[in-house]
């Protein structure tokens, strides 16, 4: 099955790619959106003083 990759997805914040699978007729059989990035704010914010979080979580997205 033919695969068309859009990597990276551009003009947005963050990282993403799209994989499009084409069937034998050249029609789209299925499409997958993937996020190939993880930083782990959910975990590493634990244990940080609450008054410091405004200066940490602002770095989730700076756009």
């Amino acid at each position: 099955m033919k695969k068309v990759s859009i990597d990276p997805i551009t003009r947005l914040e963050g990282h993403g790619k799209i994989e499009i699978f084409l069937n034998d007729d050249g029609d789209v059989a299925n499409t997958y959106f993937q996020v190939p990035e993880l930083r782990g704010f959910e975990k590493f914010c634990e244990g940080r003083p609450v008054e410091e979080l405004p200066r940490i979580v602002t770095r989730i997205c700076g756009v």
């Binding site: 099955m1 695969k3 859009i6 990597d7 990276p8 551009t10 003009r11 947005l12 914040e13 963050g14 990282h15 994989e19 699978f21 059989a29 299925n30 997958y32 993937q34 190939p36 990035e37 993880l38 930083r39 782990g40 959910e42 975990k43 590493f44 634990e46 244990g47 940080r48 003083p49 008054e51 410091e52 200066r55 940490i56 770095r59 989730i60 997205c61 700076g62 756009v63």
Partner: protein, 320 residues
């Protein structure tokens, strides 16, 4: 002069560095006169295969922001290194690990568990975790491997220059643009910022540095003209490179060290611990124990932006 070929990339980052480049406002037109941008995911639709197809050293300057924590980011670092004559470590994440490097206080397994299993917004009863390879009906899907540790750019590939800051300020970015325009780049290895510490550049009144209590920022309203450290607030100023324009301390907020260690300082956190220890007034072990307890989050405060680049980090420099 032929136009320069300029690339900008983000690895483990928030996009703030890219937006900081746009914050130079109308001066972006000078950049457009000076350089053709050949890769910039946030703003232009070039793909990875366009970069792969370039000849080696086809890019004159690459401003690379973001930390390295996955095989994809490592690949892009190596790819852009090969394709670039000058590779600039741009912003705190690329230079020191930045905020994403706080993940070095935990493990990859703990992050995966929290993000994909425990987090209350999840609906994942099968406890499915991302895999580097997944078979689907139509074929195979791949994801990059997440490293155990967050690395700086220079820990992965050689780098010509460092531009610190979270994000680098407009003044610094213009300094880089002007250096490119006039072909007057500093010696390789230079940090494009101030050679003084933040303390040296801070206009607050500094008197006698003696403190008897460390306060958290919500516990006091600091006087606007007196040294924050002298008022008992942990300020990274003595252990941080200047060049930011003292933005945070100007608005009564203590520095958290995003410009990294000053010249000659190996470990930013150790430098500040040493500074605090030398000004805290104690009469024995009890006071010392109290002082230690008053620091709410030592690792996350002293190494807020610099864990990857610190001595502490080196204990965990493994990728799997």
């Amino acid at each position: 002069m032929a136009k320069l070929k300029l690339a900008l990339y983000w690895a483990g980052a928030c996009g703030g560095c890219d937006v900081a480049v746009l914050d130079i406002n109308e001066k972006i037109l000078d950049v457009a006169n000076l350089a053709d941008i050949v890769f910039w995911p946030i703003a232009l639709d070039f793909k990875y295969h366009h970069v792969e197809a370039m000849k080696d050293k086809a890019i004159d300057v690459c401003l690379f922001n973001g930390a390295i924590r996955s095989s994809e980011q490592e690949h892009l670092a190596k790819l852009l290194r090969a394709k670039s004559k000058v590779l600039v470590s741009f912003g705190s994440c690329a230079c020191f690990g930045g905020i994403p490097a706080l993940a070095n206080l935990t493990t990859r397994a703990e992050i995966m568990e929290r993000v994909y299993v425990e987090a209350p917004s999840n609906d994942n009863p099968g406890k499915t975790l991302p895999q580097t390879k997944t078979q689907v009906a139509e074929g195979e899907l791949t994801l990059p491997e997440l490293f155990e540790s967050v690395l700086t750019l220079a820990q992965v590939v050689p780098v010509e220059y460092f531009v610190p800051g979270c994000p680098p300020t407009v003044d610094l970015i213009l300094k880089v643009v002007n250096a490119l325009a006039t072909n007057s780049l500093p010696p390789v290895g230079a940090v494009i910022a101030s050679n003084k510490t933040l303390c040296d550049e801070c206009e607050r009144k500094k008197e006698e540095k003696k403190i008897t209590k460390i306060y958290r920022t919500h516990e006091i309203i600091p006087k606007p003209d007196k040294c924050l450290l002298e008022q008992g607030l942990l300020c990274m100023g003595p252990a941080t490179r200047g060049g930011c324009g003292t933005l945070c301390v100007k608005v009564n907020i203590p520095c958290r060290g995003c410009f990294g260690p000053p010249a000659g300082v190996l470990d930013q956190g150790a430098k500040l611990v040493s500074a605090v220890a030398s000004i805290y007034q104690t009469n024995g072990d009890e006071d010392i124990a109290r002082m230690v307890n008053e620091v709410a989050d030592p690792a996350g405060t002293f190494y807020r932006f610099g864990l990857s680049d610190s001595m502490l980090k080196k204990k965990r420099l493994q990728r799997r």
